[in-house]
């Protein structure tokens, strides 16, 4: 063992010791945290386990563990209950909403922050006040508009109404306003056009926030239920949230097939869950911009 190795080990040991000492002093906090998170997350763990159980195992209260059905429930749900299709539709819907929302909001924020134009205050307020109009407030006419345009039962109906985003415009505006004046001044002196300024200066400087907004919009789009339920009629166009609710009618031999339903649930929750875990830093940072 070289001296450097021994030094490294020694350092590791002191770090571990320090952590152990801290953890000991904090055991009350840790036990409360673990207990609270356990209560909040135990449903998720149970669902993961039960999605692998057979019809009889899942109805046995005393059987809590990985079932003997393996991934069979998943295969059936994907192949026979249209989940592959639902998941694809949800993915397309959520991605288009996220890309579209963030894209057009960046253009709007660029105009609001870096342009001087007439009716600016009015137009900003006009965008801001769309916050008071969530889907339930306009659902009946919105549905009729989609029918009139022949867009009901299509991806247009799922994506278009969600594209405008006062939230994204506001957050990007706040972020753009914090960009240093000297940088903006340099761009002005060099005669850099607005689109070039957006692509080469603003976007690279706002990467974390753009990822955060993208994640928020993707999760929001993926989790929509009421609007797809109303505007989509054929199951080939349906999204996974509504597909999951419909799966609850799945029965075999007079019994509800809970294993299938739990497998469907896991499939429906995994994509946003993975995205949240991977992008938790930019997501938290984006939310925290609000706090300042």
């Amino acid at each position: 063992m070289s001296v450097a190795d021994r030094f490294e080990r020694g350092r590791l040991r002191t770090t571990l010791k320090r952590y152990a000492r801290l953890a000991r002093r904090e055991w009350k906090l840790h036990s409360q945290l673990i207990l609270t998170l356990f209560v909040l997350l135990v449903p998720l763990v149970l669902v993961l386990l039960m999605s692998t159980q057979t019809k009889t195992e899942i109805l046995d209260f005393t059987y809590i563990g990985v079932g003997s059905d393996g991934l069979e429930n998943y295969r059936i749900v994907l192949q026979k209950y249209g989940f592959l299709n639902y998941l694809t539709n949800s993915f397309v819907m959520a991605s288009l909403i996220a890309v579209g929302k963030v894209g057009i909001s960046m253009l709007a924020a660029l105009a609001i922050v870096f342009f001087d134009f007439r009716f600016k205050r009015f137009l900003f307020l006009f965008i801001l006040l769309t916050l008071t109009l969530p889907v339930p407030v306009r659902i009946v006419p919105l549905f009729e508009i989609m029918v009139d345009m022949g867009w009901n039962d299509t991806m247009y109906a799922l994506v278009l109404p969600y594209l405008a985003s006062a939230t994204s415009v506001l957050l990007l505006r706040q972020h753009f306003l914090s960009i240093s004046e000297s940088l903006v001044e340099t761009a002005r002196l060099n005669g850099v056009g607005p689109l070039k300024f957006l692509v080469y200066v603003l976007i690279p400087m706002s990467k974390s926030m753009i990822i955060g907004l993208f994640v928020i919009a993707f999760i929001w789009g993926w989790n929509q239920y009421l609007w797809p339920l109303v505007v989509i009629q054929s199951s080939s166009q349906q999204v996974v949230q509504v597909g999951l609710a419909e799966l609850q009618g799945a029965t075999g031999g007079g019994q509800t097939l809970w294993g299938l339903i739990m497998a469907g649930t896991v499939l429906a929750l995994l994509p946003p869950l993975i995205i949240l875990i991977l992008a938790n830093r930019p997501l938290l940072e984006t939310f925290n911009v609000q706090m300042k």
Binding site: P43, A111, L129, R138, Y162, V169, A245
Partner: protein, 295 residues
């Protein structure tokens, strides 16, 4: 000044996509809602008759709608207080702990990624009156019989509890942000004085983060009025009887089960006054003018 560009037309062009979508899918349908509210739909939606304010009068005199309004308020109160209290407790613990903070934080915000539909589907199974594993556990531990499919009080508790599970993550995100911005010197002083956790939280931290708490109070209330629709639809369909038929579910039934589009539009206006009013208060009362996800 950051306003380095001056061509009006370029600015309008950049704003165009947002403005077009806002007008076509937000303002125009919202205005149509107000017009539609003056009509009665007859013959299964085929015809419309102008009835003036009759729809409003009808709602004012409908005991069913009164109940729906009342239960929405009860439901919102339980969900808002419940999810904020749990989130505050959890955030405080995460904020205080020094080892494993990021792991706890990510676990604490996981529910932000779940949909109400998913949480509801999970709870339908785990709390199923005869085969649910949690039903069995609770019945044995507390010695009471669980059947929220037929018992109204239990149904209200179950749908509110399910919505609370989903809302905690959103609140933790904001509360952690607020707690982290508290100056370190205040923590040091508090620790030196040896104040207990509960006193520290209620006397020192809560007043310091009160702007965030006020923001969350409004946003959670707004959300509680319309986001938990899937919980009701998946778990109880408004039942038993109409005991869990909150305003948004009532509206959905009026529009898409009974095809009473005019009346449904009127119900939309009631929701607009409640929800829109709260958001306007939020926008103009604080400068923290952003609301997540809504539109």
């Amino acid at each position: 000044m950051s306003e380095i560009y001056t061509e009006d037309w370029k600015a309008y062009l950049l704003l165009l996509p947002t403005l077009v979508v806002s007008v076509a899918f937000l303002y125009y349908p919202a205005l149509k809602t107000f017009r539609l509210a003056l009509y009665q739909t007859v013959a299964a939606g085929a015809n419309r008759i102008y009835v003036g304010l009759d729809n409003f009068v009808w709602l004012l005199n409908s005991p069913n709608y009164h109940y729906s309004f009342f239960i929405s308020l009860v439901f919102a109160a339980i969900v808002v207080i419940g999810s904020m209290a749990i989130a505050l407790y959890l955030s405080y613990l995460i904020y205080r702990v020094a080892v494993g903070t990021s792991g706890y934080l990510v676990s604490g915000i996981l529910s932000y990624s779940f949909s109400f539909t998913i949480v509801a589907t999970i709870m339908v199974f785990l709390l199923e009156p005869s085969v649910g594993i949690l039903t069995n556990l609770i019945e044995q531990a507390l010695g009471l019989e669980i059947n929220w499919v037929t018992n109204s009080t239990q149904a209200i508790i179950v749908v509110s509890g399910t919505s609370i599970l989903k809302m905690v993550g959103y609140n933790v995100i904001f509360l952690i942000g607020a707690l982290s911005s508290i100056p370190e010197t205040i923590n040091e002083t508090a620790k030196l004085d040896g104040i207990g956790h509960f006193k520290l939280l209620s006397r020192v931290y809560v007043p310091l983060i009160s702007p965030t708490l006020a923001f969350l109070l409004i946003m959670n209330t707004v959300y509680a009025f319309f986001l938990p629709f899937p919980v009701i639809d998946v778990m109880t369909s408004g039942g038993p009887g109409n005991s869990t038929s909150i305003l948004i579910y009532h509206l959905y039934e009026t529009a898409f089960s009974q095809s009473q589009m005019g009346l449904a539009a009127t119900e939309s206006i009631v929701l607009f006054v409640l929800v829109g009013g709260l958001i306007v208060i939020q926008l103009f009362w604080s400068d923290r003018a952003a609301h997540f996800g809504g539109t």
